[in-house]
């Protein structure tokens, strides 16, 4: 496998493997059989830190719209609603995570995948995702800082 790209989050190296594609909402996607397997990027996992709760609000095999809320995640530091990254179909969820969502931290690029997805939307290439991260880093820091200050 070729070397991953790296995005520096301060001193932390977020590794962006080049064997897959990306969504702007900090998810990777990789073909697995006929389906796109989707998971959190290292950037997302670094923001979340230790995940201890994951809940899906939709049933497997559901059509979803871009930005539709499909689940909730909570970690030691943060919470977030999870949104569909594009119009498409969420075919099934990674059942291993339902018992132990910490796999997201331990192995986000492989065993910690979230769900399998079908979509006809265009995805980002790794270098394009890096550009998204570059462009958004300042805003990300703002979101983090503003909320720390509240």
């Amino acid at each position: 496998m070729p070397d991953p790209l790296v995005f520096m989050m301060g001193k932390f190296e977020a590794r962006i493997p080049t064997d897959r594609q990306y969504f702007e909402s900090h998810l990777w996607a990789q073909m697995n059989g006929d389906l796109l397997r989707v998971g959190f990027t290292s950037y997302a996992v670094r923001l979340l830190q230790d995940v201890y709760f994951l809940d899906w609000q939709i049933d497997p095999d559901s059509n979803v719209r871009h930005k539709q809320a499909i689940g909730e995640i909570e970690s030691s530091k943060a919470t977030s609603t999870l949104y569909a990254p594009a119009d498409g179909r969420v075919v099934r969820f990674n059942e291993a995570l339902l018992n132990d969502p910490s796999l997201i931290n331990a192995d986000n690029h492989e065993r910690g995948w979230l769900y399998e997805f079908e979509t006809s939307s265009t995805l980002l290439q790794p270098d394009e995702y890096i550009k998204v991260l570059d462009a958004g880093w300042e805003r990300t820091q703002q979101v983090l800082k503003n909320q720390f200050n509240e």
């Binding site: 702007e24 909402s25 930005k67 809320a69 943060a78 919470t79």
Partner: protein
């Protein structure tokens, strides 16, 4: 609960606003009593001013809301049980409220009213009290399971006793909005936005939740488009939609939703509505129908002849 006519303390696993307006929607009406629990810190509140603590908040009466209709002169204290796991907290608060509310009766004791009559269930006392210029008096507590108990023996709510469950597992949970009329401005954005016929208006053209069961389970879209944040879905996960009072102080965790692709409130509402439309076999309408408009720049344009005509028609009152 409709049979309980006096002041009420209602405890539930919901935000106080949600409790109050669910009761209102179901015909259990009253003014908002102010509990010391579930409160966002208010520096203006004098801790020693016991008289004040039972009286409706000023902010509600001066707010822009249209207010609830036919509100009897009694107080409903809604208390959220999720704030503190210790039952004593609630027992103490109930005792405090009970003491505050019985103060006027102590003053009247010379003409035959006793504040302490443990053998009574309070009903007859209350009838007497309301005859006397409507003096507020606490006649009992309504548990969420509907049982009334005597205020003189708070130990009767002792945590040791098993709660009586009257709504068992077999009962379908309902999902529908309740309107907080202390905030609602009757702007009609909700009735324009919802395409499922949940909303209607009463004889006075006030907005109301008319067909609760038309509401789509899990969909809070109308709440997101409400400019006054007056639509409460008591069981929604988002505190602001479930009737929490304040801002984002609920949770000290960072909310990453914006970074993880969260849509704006309006984008979200449009999506949620489309999902339910499609589930009903109807066509998604996206942002083409019922998008909030009245609030934006409503007063920026000068009056014109059409405004005069419309006001003239309104004035005819036909």
């Amino acid at each position: 609960m409709k049979s309980l006519k006096g002041d009420l303390v209602v405890l539930g696993w919901l935000y106080p606003r949600a409790i109050r307006w669910v009761l209102d929607r179901n015909g259990v009406k009253g003014k908002a009593g102010e509990s010391r629990l579930n409160k966002i810190e208010d520096e203006n509140q004098d801790e020693d001013d016991e008289q004040q603590s039972g009286i409706e908040k000023d902010s509600e009466s001066v707010s822009q809301g249209i207010g609830a209709l036919d509100v009897p002169n009694r107080l409903i204290f809604a208390i959220d049980l999720r704030d503190d796991p210790d039952p004593q907290t609630y027992v103490k608060e109930i005792e405090r409220i009970s003491n505050v509310m019985t103060v006027p009766l102590v003053q009247l004791s010379g003409i035959g009213f006793q504040s302490s009559s443990p053998s009574q269930n309070g009903q007859s006392e209350t009838n007497g009290a309301t005859n006397l210029n409507g003096t507020p008096h606490l006649n009992g507590f309504a548990h969420t399971n509907g049982s009334a108990i005597n205020h003189e023996s708070p130990s009767a709510v002792a945590p040791a006793s098993e709660p009586k469950v009257i709504a068992g597992d077999g009962i379908r949970r309902r999902w529908y909005p309740v309107i907080d009329y202390s905030r609602c401005t009757n702007c009609m954005e909700c009735i324009d936005f919802c395409l499922f016929g949940v909303y209607g208006v009463d004889l006075l053209d006030r907005i109301l939740v008319e067909q609760e069961d038309n509401c789509k389970k899990g969909c809070p879209a109308c709440s997101r488009v409400c400019p006054a944040n007056a639509i409460v879905f008591p069981e929604h996960k988002t505190p602001g939609i479930a009737g929490a009072e304040g801002g984002p102080a609920e949770d000290f965790k960072i909310d990453l939703s914006k970074l993880f692709g969260a849509p704006s409130a309006l984008e979200m509402a449009v999506l949620e509505r489309d999902v339910e439309l499609v589930a009903d076999g109807r066509d998604a309408v996206g942002a083409t129908v019922g998008i909030p408009k009245r609030q934006a720049g409503a007063s920026t344009k000068p009056r014109d002849a059409l405004d005069d005509l419309m006001d003239g028609l309104d004035a005819l009152d036909v």
